[in-house]
């Protein structure tokens, strides 16, 4: 069966293998492009957030290519993302297609539904649960490897002597990881990629700023949605770290990591209620970045994202208390690269001045 799924950063490399190994034909939809956005915007509600629109466009492009089933994740609110599946399905049907959207909600809340859907997927692919378990472990390794390589690229990029080199090598890395099929191969591939990225010639004497990136998970992870902000900043000589990576989100949801609890605790003086999405994490991560001595924080959020609006309302107070500058960027289908670039340049100038002032003050 031809199965498709949403594109979210580099994770498609891992999901592709997952579907292949459980006996289905993965249909990797085209990378999000302006056409995806146009299609998505045309058929989505006007005030839906940008992830909804990009996903809508991606699904329609996947259907054009012959997808029979689309798999995505769900949720239990109060963030709208938990209801995407139902509405996407209704819109797809209204347009006259009969492709099904299969949503995996939280295992903890609806495990019966989760298991029955998974069972159907496995049995139609003629795969046993034991085999699935093995495949899942391999794929998870792949996901972690992808995230580690991505993180390394953000560390290398601000120091690269030849602009754009890291991005090119990073693309090669994705292909190398894509080829690796078993745990040992993935390990080898990962080391090869580390080698490749570390061998890029670097100028370690640069005065590199450190910026933390917080915000809504989809626009953090998908470069198309955030206009490739981390690579852009990297090429401007800024080291960036973001709070959320997909493999880490997965770990949190399977209770094998508890970084999140720390973040929520850090946010508690400012926001005492879980408000859905990543709102409280944006506040907590900002506090933590300030404590770790970062120069600034950038909050990324889709336009009209409710939890992030609440976070934005609170962040000025965090900024006042901890002294860390925060720039909020709301992204929508109208956001242009040049506009964003200008705002980033201004923000970075400000941070450089602050740093100089701080250092100068310490000397005199």
């Amino acid at each position: 069966m031809k199965i498709s799924f949403p594109i979210m950063g580099n994770s498609y490399v891992a999901f592709k293998q997952l579907l292949e190994d459980i006996g289905h034909e993965p249909l990797v939809p085209p990378m999000p492009s302006s056409r995806t956005m146009t299609l998505g915007t045309m058929y989505s509600p006007e005030f839906a957030c940008i992830p909804f629109k990009i996903l809508m466009g991606t699904y329609l492009e996947a259907i054009e290519k012959g997808a029979e089933l689309i798999i995505s994740s769900g949720g239990h609110g109060p963030c709208r993302a938990g209801y995407y599946g139902v509405l996407h399905q209704k819109i797809i049907n209204d347009l006259g297609f009969n492709t099904k959207v299969m949503i995996f909600d939280s295992f903890n809340r609806t495990w019966k539904d989760f298991v029955s859907k998974l069972h159907w997927l496995l049995s139609s692919g003629k795969t046993s649960w034991w085999n699935f378990y093995k495949v899942f472990n391999v794929v998870f390794d792949k996901l972690v490897a992808l995230d580690e390589i991505e993180i390394l690229s953000y560390q290398v990029r601000p120091y690269e002597t030849e602009k754009g080199r890291t991005s090119r090598e990073y693309k090669k890395c994705l292909e190398i990881i894509d080829q690796a099929r078993t745990r040992s191969q993935i390990k080898e591939a990962k080391e090869a990629c580390f080698e490749l990225l570390s061998s890029i010639s670097q100028d370690k004497n640069r005065n590199v700023l450190k910026i933390g990136i917080v915000g809504e998970i989809y626009v953090l992870i998908e470069p198309f949605a955030n206009l490739d902000i981390q690579a852009t900043l990297g090429e401007m000589g800024v080291f960036t770290q973001r709070g959320t990576h997909l493999s880490q989100w997965w770990k949190e949801n399977t209770k094998s990591a508890n970084h999140e609890a720390k973040v929520i605790k850090a946010a508690s003086p400012y926001l005492r209620e879980l408000i859905g999405g990543h709102g409280i994490l944006s506040v907590g991560e900002t506090v933590l970045f300030a404590q770790r001595g970062y120069d600034g924080v950038i909050q990324l959020a889709p336009f009209s994202c409710i939890p992030e609006i609440v976070a934005k309302g609170i962040l000025p107070q965090v900024s006042k208390d901890t002294g860390i500058p925060v720039l909020t960027v709301f992204l929508d289908e109208q956001t242009g690269k040049a506009g964003l670039q200008t705002r980033l340049e201004a923000f970075i100038d400000l941070l450089h001045q602050r740093r100089q002032k701080r250092l100068g003050g310490a000397v005199s």
């Binding site: 709208r80 209620e273 609170i314």
Partner: protein, 337 residues
């Protein structure tokens, strides 16, 4: 009179004020509400609130700013849930509202931001009342009596609201105990379901006098609150998954109810510009209205710049269309000969 307790006249006011009013006054406090929304509260709200917030949240900020110097205590409950239904809660902005207020408005008096979380525990409403009373240093029998009294008043308020009288009249009626009869109106020729959240539907400043205009045009307006509660909840089965937001569930269920009953000629969805949950609700309503008998559907989006003329024009055009449509169905021979 004891302490003065401030209650902003917006958001939950329209559904839950009679309860809290009775509760506080029976305990011997004075409850002060802000003025009905006006230009001043809007301006203050726009000034204080984060710029990306929606209109109702901005207006809430405005009401709080107006009240802060007039009262000793501000009652800003954190609405988390009012019943047990899947993962139902309120819009994330409601969940974070007390925090947003505290971090954006200066010079606030003491705030009671007790969590209203009625999906959990035994007799959650009573527990909540006890906690609120404890903040005000009250306890014992008087709280229990105030609680019973408040429940009674709330019940009669909801009943009066269901009969279709204006919320202000229903509110006065419930609090003073007098039963108000709905005004006898001429038999309307057009019935419209005006659906949306209570803080948009019942705030005539925000919706620029929509209901008065409809009455003048001889149109009967049906609201979410006019659906019998049990019938409303029964409509939940129409969706594969409940929405996560209480007001949104009420609105979408009312949509299903009016579509099923076929009592109304058209459906008008009143929404606030940039409302997150409504982006979902509006599309669902549009699709359902289309699939269940092609019922005419209009979305009326309100923001801080909404003008009276604009709303009036759209409503008039919509109603003209409805009348024309009906004419076509009834007379096979057209009026023009």
């Amino acid at each position: 009179m004891g302490l003065k307790i401030g209650f902003p006249r917006t958001l939950f006011y329209y559904l839950y004020y009679p309860f809290w009013h009775t509760f506080f006054t029976s305990l011997g406090f004075e409850v002060i509400t802000s003025q009905p929304t006006n230009k001043l509260s809007l301006d203050m709200g726009v000034q204080e609130a984060v710029n990306d917030a929606c209109l109702p949240i901005k207006i809430y900020h405005g009401h709080v700013a107006e009240l802060k110097d007039k009262v000793d205590v501000l009652f800003l409950p954190r609405m988390v849930s009012v019943r047990k239904l899947d993962a139902e809660t309120f819009c994330p902005k409601f969940l974070g509202l007390p925090d947003m207020i505290i971090h954006s408005i200066d010079g606030l008096p003491r705030i009671i931001d007790e969590k209203v979380h009625l999906a959990r525990g035994w007799f959650p409403l009573w527990q909540l009342c006890r906690k609120v009373a404890r903040h005000l240093e009250k306890g014992g029998w008087s709280v229990w009596k105030a609680y019973l009294q408040a429940n009674k008043v709330q019940e009669s308020y909801i009943k009066e609201l269901a009969s279709g009288i204006s919320p202000q009249a229903a509110l006065d009626g419930a609090i003073t105990g007098s039963v108000q009869e709905p005004q006898p109106a001429p038999i309307p020729d057009v019935h419209l379901a005006i659906l949306g959240y209570p803080y948009l539907i019942y705030d005539s400043f925000v919706n620029v006098g929509l209901f008065e205009k409809l009455a003048q045009m001889g149109i009967k307006a049906w609201t979410v609150e006019m659906v019998p509660p049990r019938r409303l909840e029964a409509q939940g089965r129409n969706l594969p998954k409940n929405l996560f937001w209480n007001f949104s569930n009420r609105t979408i269920r009312a949509t299903f109810y009016y579509l099923q009953e076929q009592k109304t000629d058209g459906i008008v969805h009143v929404t606030a510009f940039g409302c997150g949950p409504d982006a979902m609700v509006d599309k669902l309503m549009e699709l359902e209205a289309k699939n269940r008998g092609r019922v005419p559907f209009l979305t009326l989006s309100l923001d801080e710049h909404t003008g009276e003329a604009g709303v009036l024009t759209r409503i008039e055009a919509f109603v003209d269309m409805l009348r024309l449509r009906r004419g076509q169905h009834e007379n096979i021979v057209s009026n023009n000969g």
